[in-house]
Symmetry: D2
Subunit: 115 residues, 4 copies
């Protein structure tokens, strides 16, 4: 069974074996996110929001691979800054809870800055 820590170790081993850490400065890693995000988005282009819920099996396979890639780059950037990603997520949830109080935003979708 996969657990987070062992997966993160595999991701870092993959890189070490290829001696790729030298290219993985944060600027390049942040670019990789934008590129992967674009590849993910391409699966939904020209679709309505409704249609986006019904991907073809090929598109769904692509999407899963892009999500995995994004997780891999998350791991590299977290390693760069020696941060505990889950702890950062917990902090961010608290920030978001303060920013978007239930009684103010329930059932409403707006740009972040519009609240």
């Amino acid at each position: 069974m996969a657990d987070l820590e062992s997966i993160q170790k595999k991701i870092l081993s993959f890189r070490n074996e290829r001696d790729w850490a030298q290219f993985h400065d944060p600027k390049n890693l942040a670019e990789a996110f934008s590129i992967e995000a674009g590849e993910l988005l391409e699966n939904f282009l020209w679709k309505t929001t409704e249609q986006s819920r019904n991907l073809s099996p090929e598109e769904l396979k692509n999407v899963k691979e892009e999500l995995a890639d994004i997780f891999i780059f998350l791991t590299y950037l977290s390693e760069e800054y020696k941060i505990d990603l889950l702890a950062e997520v917990e902090k961010k949830i608290k920030v978001n809870e303060a920013k978007y109080p239930v009684e103010k935003v329930k059932g409403l979708a707006k740009k972040y800055s519009a609240y």
Copy 2:
């Protein structure tokens, strides 16, 4: 102590309390990734790759928050497709191992398609 499953539950609870799942079709979630990736990248704009390793404390704080946001959207998209993200990552590592054999790519950085 934070563990993956409990964090993912918190992320989904945050959404349920606000009744936001209705807006979280995959097309919109994929857009959110591109937007977050752009916000992450903004912290490195106009820097050299060298400079990108030395962020100010404020920039570093921003970067951590963006990484957390990206993880949050990963969780929402994984939930949409009922996928086990870590299992997908394991599969992708195997795909990448076949695509980038150590003896061929060690110490080299090229566009994916250039190998």
Copy 3:
């Protein structure tokens, strides 16, 4: 009346006066596009495709500014490579005409690679 050439000159003068060409290597300019594209996209996030046709005046103003920014970065990258952008566009239209023959694609929307 604004014409293309005089606008492009103004864009380059703006940069020269600030001595910013030194930061405008293509890698950074390409990052700027991703960042601006994300800012543009933020105006449409959580909207349906239908809703995206009805922006608020404030959103519309943002969109116009983002389009202008994108044009400005197009000008800087074109200058970097000393290319005639309009001539490149003409060439690309011909490439697209060959790639997407009317009789094959009329009224159909697919991912580029799906034809």
Copy 4:
């Protein structure tokens, strides 16, 4: 000789012949920008800023095609809002001149919000 207006007409004719305006709502067009921006950026990934100034002929060809694509989508979005793109650029230059006074920013590169 290519001039702006005749190129914009060609771009719109290309679309009309294929009956594609129906898919070109602003949300989808904005997504297209993020995707194209990612494809542009891919040509610079894993390079230093120095290396980004020395692309291979194949990479340079890719870059030119991406710039042309971006211009094409700029034309579609400008048509959607019936805006005069060059006039918007002129306005934006004035906004930028006020935002980044020469005496304050000359020779300095910072995040937009850092001034």
